[in-house]
Symmetry: C2
Subunit: 209 residues, 2 copies
């Protein structure tokens, strides 16, 4: 089946949203924790967190246009720190519920059955129920002109993980941590490792496949 651009534009909104959100492949499932200057904790699910660089250690994620009020964006700009917490199999329903529109005064932690947790280094709240927690400092934003979304970049200040998931070569076994992947806007998946391959060099090995 070939779906052309013209066909995509002809679909009704929800159908098109489902289609285009699922075509990008599997995505990370992260709860981003922030706090405002009054001490109100905020938590929201994102599926766009990606690796930006290892030295310095940077992660980035995409936010929707800030034409409507965005608590996460405002809090990050104001307080400069945020946390990224992996969603695991035990909290997919709670995590998905953070995508509801709560008033600024309401904490998604309380409303969605999750627990804020703090370290001495980062003012923003972590999610206690998450197994992989990352504390970041905001360092850059780039607006995507095509649709007004904003790519936010943070520098990793600390990583909090169970000892058991860290492998000898530095690889974090996120499957063992129960981390899930997202398909589309609302599909949650657990994973099973197929393989880890070595650093690829040119060779004739695969020509016979």
């Amino acid at each position: 089946m070939v779906i052309t651009k013209e066909k995509i534009f002809s679909f009704e909104k929800i159908y098109r949203t489902n289609l285009i959100n699922s075509i990008s492949g599997f995505k990370s499932a992260s709860l981003i924790g922030t706090v405002d200057s009054d001490g109100n904790n905020n938590l929201a699910i994102f599926n766009s967190v990606i690796h930006v660089g290892a030295n310095p250690p940077l992660l980035g994620f995409l936010m929707r246009p800030v034409s409507v009020e965005r608590h996460t964006y405002n809090n990050i700009k104001q307080m400069r720190y945020f946390t990224i917490n992996h969603v695991n199999e035990n909290i997919t329903k709670n995590a998905h519920q953070t995508s509801a529109s709560y008033d600024k005064e309401k904490s998604e932690f309380l409303e969605c059955g999750l627990t804020p947790e703090f370290s001495k280094n980062i003012i923003a709240p972590y999610v206690k129920e998450s197994n992989i927690k990352i504390g970041l400092k905001f360092i850059e934003e780039q607006e995507i002109k095509s649709n007004g979304t904003i790519f936010i970049i943070g520098e990793i200040m600390e990583i909090i993980i169970p000892d058991i998931v860290l492998e000898q070569d530095g690889y974090i076994n996120i499957q063992k941590a129960g981390t899930v992947a997202i398909g589309g806007l609302d599909g949650y998946y657990n994973t099973k490792k197929i393989a880890r391959y070595s650093y690829a060099k040119p060779s004739d090995e695969l020509k016979e496949l």
Copy 2:
């Protein structure tokens, strides 16, 4: 275990690269196909493709700094079209092998045992062995100042998928298509659906969890 920023900087390069590449969560596994003005096909694996917007339909991905020669980047800038092809379970080894440094004249298709395929709408090559194929037109790039990486945005011109993976509400069942997820730089995972949730609205339902 808490790993501070200072500790991260103290790790040797490969250890740090493994750590930071795996901490972002699961990532999409995509082969990006391009062609140069001499007709040389190029194929490279990327794990940073994300959804940018549904209307217009946009995808984006992050490229490493262009201080060294980047065939994918140069081809996209020159020819304006590229393809994104999902990596599935049958071609993870071939896909990973495209990350080796081949000379510009060598086609990663031939070297890695994959087959170029063309549609009448897009000049860039698709991967025949991929089940989910997307043809895009380059529309924007944004440089991340913090480390010189470049976020490339393309508009979807066509989607080529098996009829069987398209569900009634527009959701593409990428698990059924065999699409894999990536952990770190070199870990490939298949997936199993846990749940799809409905659009979240504020409610008291989860307070009791």
